[in-house]
């Protein structure tokens, strides 16, 4: 509750900043301070202290897990904004508006981590999406940005329609919007007379797949990530997607076993096709940005494992994965922002020109590829573990592994460009402080690569 209230207030404050305070610097600082407050308030709730404490009438339910995940999101957002301050300011002399949108998005995210009612799910998703449509189109003069915005908007609202139909079906079958007490008892499985219910679940499933960009609902992802301003892409690809996943799991983990084997079948279909599209197509990209877009689809494929079944691995894994993946992606995009163009060639010889930057980029890429000593390895390992613990066949794991090997293919193309190709990287000059910020992220990833449990130990005590 705190998070939702505070973030809304902060959003409003930022709005007014846009004509109260003119200098970017102060706006940036205010945003950071605000985020700090947000984190504090959330931690406060985690320790049982509320701003206003009242009964949400079963609309929201604050679990330790949800609140903790919130905190992590806020922290990551903090890093993100801290890193990309002046970059955001580039679009507009008024960065404050964007900060406001960020806060609204965070509000939506914290709803998605705590909703207890499909109505809240719906509203949460909308609060999350609408600002994104705008952020995508933020580069108003840029046709790519416009196009991306329109595509995203149209498909987004279409998927909203699908989601609503699904919710309606569920309501029709159960007569309530409360989902979290399993509507299907595991023993009953998939009863004939409940066709309409499972149809509803399936439609919701499809809509959520759209939000987390899983195949075959991924089509918006490459275009939107590619068209949107890089700085916002990195936000979309990380926190938003992660929040979507949390919501996804909250809906389905309680159900999944009840849905019978066809559920596993459907999920396997989605997982495999997501991995396939994401990894295979990423291999042939010439633009790093687009490659990362596809790779994010592939990563989504891995995160979907958490849906396969409820287990401590799944819970820990999704948290770890969300954090690691977000950090790494923010890092890579942070480097990409500094490039004059998005092609692989732009990175040629970066190792010579700026060894430190090249090094951190390598760490990020390793983490994305899941190479040991970076957090990515354990993230992937936990996911595979969750998959196996949930009783998936080895075949699925082996497929996942094969695609993981394919992913090395395209991530390392960038490493090769940086280290083994001689050339002059075409980049804006990078301030020292910026590099150090990236280095910090890299170090975080390395720590997670050796002690992953620091992320989720807090879930237990």
């Amino acid at each position: 509750m705190n998070a939702i209230i505070v973030s809304t207030i902060l959003g409003v404050i930022m709005m007014f900043c846009s004509w109260g305070i003119k200098t970017q610097k102060t706006q940036h600082t205010i945003a950071l301070v605000g985020l700090f407050v947000l984190i504090l308030s959330n931690l406060a709730q985690l320790n049982g202290w509320y701003v206003i404490d009242f009964d949400t009438k079963g609309m929201l339910a604050f679990t330790r897990f949800g609140l903790y995940v919130n905190t992590l999101f806020f922290l990551i957002t903090f890093i993100y904004i801290w890193l990309n301050g002046e970059e955001i300011a580039k679009f507009d002399n008024q960065a404050a508006d964007f900060y406001a949108l960020f806060f609204f998005i965070l509000c939506g995210a914290s709803i998605l981590t705590s909703f207890d009612n499909l109505l809240m799910l719906f509203i949460g998703i909308e609060i999350l999406s609408i600002p994104l449509y705008i952020l995508t189109g933020a580069d108003k003069k840029n046709l790519f940005s416009n196009e991306a915005a329109l595509k995203y908007f149209l498909m987004g609202s279409f998927s909203t329609g699908i989601l609503l139909l699904g919710i309606t079906f569920i309501y029709g079958a159960t007569g309530s919007f409360h989902l979290l007490e399993p509507v299907l008892k595991p023993e009953t499985g998939l009863p004939k007379e409940q066709m309409i219910l499972s149809a509803g679940l399936l439609l919701v499933f499809a809509a959520m797949n759209f939000k987390v960009s899983a195949a075959p609902f991924h089509f918006w992802t490459p275009d939107v990530y590619d068209g949107a301003p890089t700085v916002f892409t990195s936000f979309m690809a990380t926190i938003v997607k992660a929040a979507g996943f949390i919501a996804f799991i909250t809906i389905f983990n309680s159900q999944s076993k009840a849905l019978g084997y066809t559920w596993e079948l459907v999920l396997s279909f989605v997982i495999v096709s997501t991995l396939l599209v994401g990894n295979i197509v990423a291999v042939f990209q010439r633009s790093v940005k687009r490659m990362l877009a596809y790779s994010s689809i592939a990563q989504a494929g891995f995160m979907l494992f958490a849906l396969y079944g409820k287990s401590s691995f799944a819970q820990e894994g999704i948290v770890l994965y969300a954090v690691v993946y977000s950090l790494a992606t923010i890092g890579v995009f942070g480097v990409l922002i500094k490039m004059k163009e998005n092609s692989f060639e732009a990175f040629n010889g970066l190792a010579k020109a700026n060894p430190l930057l090249a090094f951190v980029t390598t760490i990020f890429l390793f983490s994305l590829a899941g190479i040991p000593l970076t957090g990515g390895f354990f993230a992937k390992y936990y996911m595979l573990n969750a998959l196996y613990a949930a009783g998936a066949g080895l075949w699925l794991i082996i497929i996942a592994i094969l695609f993981a090997a394919v992913s090395v293919f395209y991530y390392f193309k960038l490493v090769q460009a940086m280290y083994f190709v001689t050339g002059e990287p075409t980049m804006h000059e990078v301030p020292k402080k910026y590099t150090y910020a990236l280095l910090l992220i890299a170090i975080l990833l390395l720590i997670l690569g050796v002690f992953p449990s620091v992320v989720f130990n807090y879930l237990y005590f």
Binding site: T8, I123, I134
Partner: protein, 166 residues
């Protein structure tokens, strides 16, 4: 076949026909008008279901505000009659087939679904559609979403500002 049923069929026919017209009419303006007609038909259904409040809101918000907004935008970019180039036929066909199969699939499911059999919709009677219980529910049970939806508007507003700014 009492009056209610007649009304139901009539309104349904109206809704479907005008919905189809939205699709087929070349001129965007026309399709807007057809859509408004659909909304009116739906509002009629609401009244039939004795959900007056929603009926009114539907007229005001949709047929009124939103559609006017649409028309307004149309005017703004003065899209003339069949300015819109058509998609190739086969694309349309696939679209229709896809949508149709989607429909048939869902209908097949509903038909299989036994839990709905013999369950009726209460027409005319029932107080829940009236403004009083709705208002009560909205400000007691549903106050949280009600408050939160304001965030939606805030963000929409900010967005409009950002995009609207030259």
């Amino acid at each position: 076949m009492n009056t209610l049923e007649i009304l139901f069929y009539a309104l349904s026919a109206l809704a479907i026909i005008s919905a189809v017209m939205v699709l087929v009419s070349k001129n965007p303006i026309h399709s807007v008008l057809w859509l408004i007609l659909v909304f009116f038909a739906i509002s009629g259904h609401y009244i039939l279901l004795n959900a007056q409040f929603l009926a009114i809101v539907n007229i005001i918000v949709y047929a009124g505000a939103i559609m006017v907004l649409f028309l307004f935008v149309m005017m703004l970019m003065n899209v003339k009659k069949d300015k819109e180039p058509q998609k190739q036929l086969w694309v349309k066909l696939t679209g229709v087939i896809a949508g149709g199969s989607f429909l048939t699939l869902l209908i097949a499911l509903v038909k299989q679904n036994t839990s709905f059999q013999g369950r009726d919709v209460l027409l005319k009677e029932g107080s829940i559609g009236l403004i009083h219980p709705l208002g009560q529910a909205l400000f007691t049970d549903y106050v949280v979403p009600f408050e939160i939806s304001s965030v939606l508007f805030l963000s929409a507003m900010v967005g409009a500002v950002i995009i609207g700014k030259k």
